[in-house]
């Protein structure tokens, strides 16, 4: 039985990634959005390196938050529209597992590319090189939590009008703790302090989200199917 669950888990991730590759433009657009938002800041606050260095971690985190948000509404929407959601609920595997597989696939196709490109953006913003590794670790711990929390919002908005705006209102406030600890981890590293406490908290948030979020999302999906 467990063997079957594992098989379904990976089958689903495989299909979601295949779909993301076939709809390649979607993932590319999210990454480009991330880059453009970051690039807007030097244009608006001025190219003075001192200011950019100081706010670089914040800019990258806020842009990552917005990019993940933007990609979130499609997570369950297409399954809801084509009737696949009913069949996923009717699969003999627990819906929580299916939700988790979709969330993992979402992170692999959006969160992961953002992490990969972030050092380049840190370079644009003249961030001190001592912050790079912490930025990467913080993003690696934080973006999966964004996907997990965002999945609850994505499940709740199914069937709603103006769902994109509603999703931001639901989910962005929940992203705030991740933003605070993500930015302060990088700031600590830049001022030669230990960033371990912040990273541990990010890790704790991730583990808590990993356990709780799929249950909440699955409950919201069952509600949406009724």
């Amino acid at each position: 039985m467990i063997g079957k669950s594992v098989q379904v888990f990976f089958k689903l991730i495989q299909r979601e990634i295949l779909l993301a590759i076939r709809h390649g433009a979607d993932s590319c657009m999210i990454v480009l959005f991330f880059v453009i938002v970051v690039v807007l800041f030097p244009l608006s606050v001025g190219p003075e390196p001192g200011i950019l260095t100081r706010i670089s971690a914040g800019i990258i985190w806020v842009s990552a938050l917005l990019s993940v948000m933007l990609s979130m509404d499609r997570l369950f929407q297409s399954d809801y529209e084509d009737g696949g959601l009913d069949l996923l609920i009717l699969a003999s595997q627990p819906l929580e597992l299916i939700v988790l597989a979709k969330t993992v696939a979402h992170w692999l196709t959006t969160g992961f590319p953002l992490i990969v490109i972030s050092p380049l953006l840190a370079l644009f913003l003249n961030m001190d090189t001592s912050g790079y590794s912490t930025l990467l670790i913080a993003l690696a711990l934080g973006t999966p939590t964004l996907s997990l929390v965002g999945a609850i919002g994505a499940a709740l908005i199914l069937g709603a009008r103006r769902s994109g705006v509603l999703l931001s209102l639901l989910v962005l406030p929940l992203f705030i703790p991740i933003l605070i600890f993500g930015v302060s981890a990088v700031d600590a590293a830049l001022t030669n302090l230990s960033s371990k406490p912040q990273l541990l908290i990010l890790g704790g948030l991730f583990l808590t989200g990993l356990v709780l979020c799929p249950w909440a999302s699955a409950a919201a999906l069952r509600q949406a199917a009724e």
């Binding site: 098989q7 089958k11 009913d86 069949l87």
Partner: protein, 201 residues
């Protein structure tokens, strides 16, 4: 929506749900699938409440709804194979190829599903339920947008399923040529709209 509705279906039986539009045929099928929860009453399988082991019950049913649950970016075969692999037992060999041939989709198997016509999409959705075994089929308007050949294929598939001891519940306007019982659910429909419930529209 329904009151005093009570029925049972045995192995090898086909139950036709009949009734005018809006009488609740689809709702009843969704209830039977466990997608909706009854306000009152229970659904049982061999006298056991289906809620006792939902995973087991879900592995026993195939549901065909109004929508075709097809991913347009995947090919016909990829669509079918995904559901067959999700639903089949780890030991069971799924019969994706046979199901494609049965619904004459084998020559389209590498075509991206976005090029399919409405009838072909329906056939792909029906091939899904033939690709692996589940005793109870719940079919909501399965013959919509099918041509006469495909309707015959569907009828044959239902008869074969019946002979293997399967159970089928169908909601349909067209009469399929299968040996069946029918249940007119409009007699049980008790659907009152209270206008104040809809104030916030």
């Amino acid at each position: 929506m329904f009151t005093n509705l009570n029925f049972s279906i045995n192995e090898g039986e086909v139950l036709y749900l009949i009734g005018p539009n809006g009488s609740g045929k689809s709702t009843l099928l969704r209830l039977m699938a466990g997608l909706l929860n009854p306000v009152n009453g229970v659904l049982t399988w061999n006298d056991k409440d289906i809620r006792d082991d939902e995973g087991l019950f879900k592995s026993r049913i195939h549901y065909v709804g109004h929508q075709d649950s097809i991913k347009t970016a995947l090919t016909v075969e990829e669509n079918l194979r995904f559901w067959a692999e999700i639903n089949s037992d780890i030991k069971e060999k799924s019969t994706v190829q046979e199901a494609l041939e049965q619904f004459s989709l084998d020559n389209l198997s590498t075509l991206p599903a976005r090029f399919l016509s409405a009838g072909q999409r329906k056939r792909l959705n029906l091939a899904r339920i033939c690709a692996n075994w589940a005793p109870l089929w719940l079919l909501d308007e399965p013959s919509n947008s099918l041509d006469s050949d495909s309707v015959n294929t569907l009828t044959a598939a239902i008869s074969t399923h019946q002979k293997k001891g399967g159970i089928v519940a169908i909601a349909s306007h067209e009469n399929l040529d299968v040996h069946s019982n029918s249940l007119d659910i409009s007699m049980f429909t008790n659907f009152k709209i209270k206008s104040r419930d809809y104030d916030d529209w």
